[in-house]
Symmetry: C2
Subunit: 261 residues, 2 copies
């Protein structure tokens, strides 16, 4: 495992939120390790706590017809927590601009000795009535700038643009149902991760470990949409494109990259 | 909402375990309420904590080639927690016999003023090598009998035998994949609940609420099994039968009953 401890950069400040979680045994796979979709879910919860605590939570935004929209998320796994392991998810905002903010994550054991994972994410803000992007800096008079933390180490490569060449193979089409939906009635960001993981054979999960996952969310899908999953292989990476059927056409809803080692 | 508070019967004793959870927003549906599958998951976690704390956890049992197997679970919902609600899940063993033990649940707000749900469950113990039932009272010389709690109120009808007449309609066949599996590599008890919920149209979840769910687990399914879902209607109840394909035959793996109000 990499040792990325660094007292200077990992100090807790009020800009950094730190929330305790544990690997629920029924969220672990047959290797006794937390499934990356559930880790993603815990990270989104930590993000939500952090923004709520600072006045930018979903509930406040909802009241002013705004909502955060997750645009991209990347998770780099060093060692996945085992069932019952307790850990902190630390999260902080690295930058904020008019239309995008970058939020980072560090998943670390309670005693700080083991870094389990890092995460990076990019969020937009939309107007819930028009569905158009809104200026993040207009909310609470730009107060988000008070929370920018640039010194804390997020020791992973930046979120990457997932570029997919045309020679992809359609490997599965699935329907979407009640359990796929989030609070807003859209297909849940974490469910896409589950559906993507499910494209790969079980033997891959016995023989290898997930090293990195990148997802870019392109458009929303709704209950009843049929989702098509395409896979391409590029060196060590598995590239995934997800579309929904819209009349005779297909509209891209998300794309991902999954690397096993 | 029913008021089932009763100081005498709801006192906490060492026989009763009490664990704090909260409704993770990404575990809530488009009504902003915790999905019953996730509540089931939290209950199973509470059960696991309670049995571990008393020397009967999965990890101890694993070392002596034993495992708990969930045979039935019933959940009666009074009012589903909303996103961010904190609550306790209380759990206790109501009875233990040679081959079965009954475990109950009560889901209650931190201040005790709101009972969200009750649950009942029946567990068997198997030998992990032979997959045959084992005598629960042989483990730790019958120590489980020290923890039987018969005074605490579980204010719901008993787990019910789900009886399905033959006129069921096959409504869906799905494959099983990596995310469907639990730590043991079998299809996760909670995933059956999700798949069952997904059989019903979204409009039902807008117009009505789940009042009660009963599931009986009959046989195990594995990754790669195709699962067939059959539904029948009987008065207010939706009856569900799930089978897996085994050669030319179908083997029943679980059955359920779902009541909306």
């Amino acid at each position: 495992m990499m040792n990325t401890e660094n007292k200077d950069t990992n100090e807790l400040t009020s800009k950094v939120g730190r929330y305790e979680f544990f690997a629920m045994p029924f969220h672990c796979d047959f290797n006794d390790r937390l499934m990356i979709g559930h880790l993603g879910n815990y990270m989104l919860n930590a993000a939500d706590f952090h923004s709520r605590d600072r006045g930018f939570g979903f509930d406040y935004l909802f009241a002013i017809d705004r909502a955060w929209v997750l645009s991209r998320v990347s998770i780099e796994v060093l060692e996945m927590p085992k069932a019952y392991d307790k850990f902190y998810i630390e999260t902080w905002v690295e930058s904020a601009m008019k239309y995008f903010t970058r939020r980072n994550f560090r998943v670390v054991s309670l005693d700080g000795s083991t870094v389990y994972a890092y995460g990076r994410s990019i969020w937009a803000m939309i107007n819930t009535k028009t569905r158009h992007p809104e200026n993040i800096l207009d909310v609470r008079e730009g107060k988000i700038m008070d929370y920018i933390e640039t010194n804390k180490l997020c020791d992973m490569e930046d979120v990457s643009r997932v570029i997919i060449k045309n020679d992809v193979e359609k490997v599965r089409t699935i329907g979407t149902y009640y359990s796929d939906l989030d609070i807003n009635g859209h297909v849940n960001s974490v469910k896409y991760i589950e559906h993507i993981l499910d494209l790969f054979p079980l033997s891959l999960y016995s023989d290898k470990k997930i090293k990195r996952l990148d997802i870019a969310y392109v458009a929303e899908a709704h209950c009843g949409d049929d989702l098509n999953f395409y896979v391409a292989k590029e060196n060590e990476a598995n590239l995934i494109k997800v579309t929904r059927n819209s009349g005779d056409e297909e509209v891209e809803v998300c794309r991902g990259r999954l690397i096993f080692v």
